[in-house]
Symmetry: D2
Subunit: 292 residues, 4 copies
């Protein structure tokens, strides 16, 4: 963790724009002629959509454009002429993540274990729950735990309180770690592609509630988990990561739940890792996951 200050700082640029000739050359020339050294570059063209995607990271050590003017410079020089949607990050800025959780603790505990081990180079200042149960496990690590009960009558108020907290804690993205409440469209729209959910099935099979029960009923031989960005339509947002586990006729529902927990926590954590490393671009309902 402490080595971060010692590594050279990089800029990370994510680009999505209509495909056209020479885009890679144009972008790398901008970096190169300004003294940047590309340390990682990946591009992808969605031929069906005629859309170009790129992730490029470069060492800022000898880069002549100051950090604070880079966004403006890039915007004028390249983004506007090429109709680019773009995001710019710096490797020395730690993303700030909040976790929403209910009573199922395995995903939260997995996240906390990674946090405690300094496995992830992020800040987790805040956990919000509609139940009080997990407070001690969270606060013992120095993370604030806010209990906001949610029911049919107070949902709007609860969400307002949640949003205020997210602002107050300067949260960059939210992780729903088996959070059992459905967020309103308004809430979701405030954090586009910044709310990550874990669903306990290999979507699009078994959306909604009780997927392990449905999987058991259907007699499938594999179960899975899916992490995705949350959109207005339940369990239908852009998929970031999926994985599966084989099951047998001897596995009862409780065995599916048990085996599924391990898939869920690993799939969610991989998605979080991709997200805070700025490797995910969303286009339509699909993701480009660079480095995967």
């Amino acid at each position: 963790m402490a080595v971060q200050g010692e590594a050279p700082v990089s800029a990370i640029l994510l680009i999505s724009c209509p495909d056209q000739k020479g885009l890679v050359n144009t972008v790398t020339q901008f970096i190169y002629t300004n003294g940047g050294n590309v340390v990682d570059l990946e591009q992808h063209v969605d031929r069906a959509e005629g859309r170009f995607f790129m992730r490029v990271a470069w060492d800022l050590t000898d880069f002549v454009i100051p950090r604070e003017s880079l966004a403006d410079a890039f915007n004028k020089a390249l983004a506007i002429p090429h109709q680019m949607d773009w995001q710019l990050y710096f490797s020395d800025c730690k993303p700030r993540m909040a976790v929403f959780v209910s009573k199922h603790e395995h995903c939260l505990f997995d996240i906390l274990a990674r946090y405690q081990s300094h496995e992830w180079d992020i800040e987790i200042p805040l956990v919000i729950s509609n139940h009080p149960d997990l407070e001690q496990a969270v606060t013992s690590l120095g993370i604030d735990y806010v209990h906001i009960p949610v029911n049919k009558d107070n949902k709007a108020d609860a969400e307002q309180q949640q949003q205020q907290l997210l602002e107050q804690y300067q949260i960059d993205f939210v992780v729903l770690a088996r959070y059992m409440q459905i967020l309103s469209d308004d809430f979701i729209k405030s954090y586009p592609n910044r709310i990550i959910n874990i669903h306990h099935s290999f979507l699009p099979a078994f959306p909604g509630a009780r997927p392990y029960h449905s999987a058991y009923e259907r007699g499938v031989k594999i179960i899975g988990a899916t992490s995705h960005y949350v959109t207005a339509e339940l369990d239908a947002g852009p998929i970031i990561e999926q994985d599966v586990e084989h099951v047998r006729h001897t596995d009862e529902v409780e065995d599916l739940v048990r085996k599924g927990r391990d898939v869920e926590k690993v799939v969610l954590s991989r998605a979080i890792w991709r997200h805070f490393n700025h490797q995910v671009l969303v286009y339509g309902n699909r993701t480009v996951v660079f480095g995967s």
Copy 2:
């Protein structure tokens, strides 16, 4: 292949009945007291359904009940008193399989390669297709190929012709190796749990036509294949085997099709192997796959 006659002949019994005390003991005692030596035994209890399942194989060398009276003897002694559904097989009887195919040849070719290699201890005397394209590949191995065109108007006639062939060739079970016609309910009912289909998705996701296109549209990170017994409801029958393959954002529909072919052919062949080894029991819409 030729060693079959030299190995001791076994009887294989598949049982499904209401669960009750002492069933394993009752069945093994029947075998043991009649001089049989159990070479393989597996039982399973579906606690939710209160249902007992068992597969037992025993060496017939010193067994005192003659083969031809075994079914009767078992029926009277055990099956009727315990309300057992049961099937009895002998290891020296080669199952006879027919393949239905359309134009996609990868599953058929995989089956033919195994047949040609004597990988499978079965007979494949017959391939039926609604297209003439694959005749040469089939007949060159000494397998009969019957071209039965199917369209809206002749479907009933075509199925009648198919059924006559299945009877004439004494077919035990049918494999739909990417056969692109939907069979009638009547046809399906004539071969309960004896028609195996391969569907090119991890069901229940993406049933019906063009699952790879749907998978691409949904932006999934895994694709899969499912082999199942055919029932009246399309792509909803009891699942025998499933497997998956990871895909990335760079995979276009044609890449999903390419990667999927390998999953399809392996999953179908595993299901066929389970079936002709008498390892699959169906109960409701679920399968017990012994030895898996």
Copy 3:
């Protein structure tokens, strides 16, 4: 957790003996005629070795032999006549597990998370470490943490101290959760098939130290983890569970380490689960894992 007392108590019997006719029948008859109801039975014959293995669990509700005389009764009636190695467990006795750990915390944290969630029906009263680092994470859950430094000079003393603690805490089995010290043969022999290790490679590839570095050097496309019982020969004991993860050319050693951590912790936890559910039998250097 609290429901345990309410569920009917079962006896679980693990048997290994020379194969012979009628063994399943003999054992089930013993259970049945004494009023037991078999709830789970699995047998396996190693044909190459001529060895019979069996795991059977039965409900003790109406069983007429008292618990305290069951071992004796079984021994006289069946075990001695059939030269059986056997183990007997009761479902209401919680196994007691100790964890040995050094500085890598991911496996320990995963174990603690499951413990804290009551995911496992066992007791973990003791963690022993050759470093003081992880004390707080352990003691905060009410588990004792004993720091026993180990070096070349004090190894025998340290092990004596460890063994005294294992006795004092009535430990049934030990888990080496990335414990970086090699145990002496004497220590290992005191806990035959009762010390579970996690090795961070798909053994037998890359035994010994720094397997991820070796995997990187060799340019493999998959990495893995192996949980096994500890024997005198390093990383060569009977394997309980293995799993793997695909890697790419873009993965550097630190990426292998990162991806590997998730495989390690899941593979170790699966092995622990199999062990405390009494599903593992060792014969020679191989394991029979019932229910897998």
Copy 4:
């Protein structure tokens, strides 16, 4: 297959050179300023080795440098100044592959099935075997089959004959589809990174003969297959693809062989596909597999 002539022709360039600033920019500028349109680009930097790798494909439709002078032009403009190792391919040139096989036919049959289905855009004019057994299956597809017996005494002669055939048939690369003879160093050196082998274990575990027997003896819970370029050291060449399959205690050696066959054929075919799509670069004993 027939559409090939209709698709625009691309040039595919593979580059390996010491890492330095601006390489991506330099290469893309060369393409762009000469009228090429990049359709695919992937780069990788091996930081440990300070080595840069790149695969770039561009549409030649408006490219102003004629095909026949492209190699020279690139060499002078970029390769020499930047000390590049490089390879240039054109998408309308079909690679020509030869297969070496012994008696195990499953990999060969899988290759032939793909060939017959036009799944692969390559030519397979020649199969060489040290046994006569598989001749009919090969020649019936219009592929020449040459039987060259190999024993201790005639090995040099046999290899000379093989090499003459490879030249005569203008073979680009050789696939050892379970060919059970060890090639001489001289033979191997004549086809650097152009001989692909399939080994029936997850290397580096179980190199050499009878890996399934060794896997069984060791009691592993996964088996696998590895495709790699052949080098002088047996089973130690750069790995292209690996995959695995779970096994259980019930799997005897013959079951490992059966399950292994499916892994072998799929892993080999994936490696062949990567190779003829010019996606593999070798550096030291590691591969960069673009698009994976």
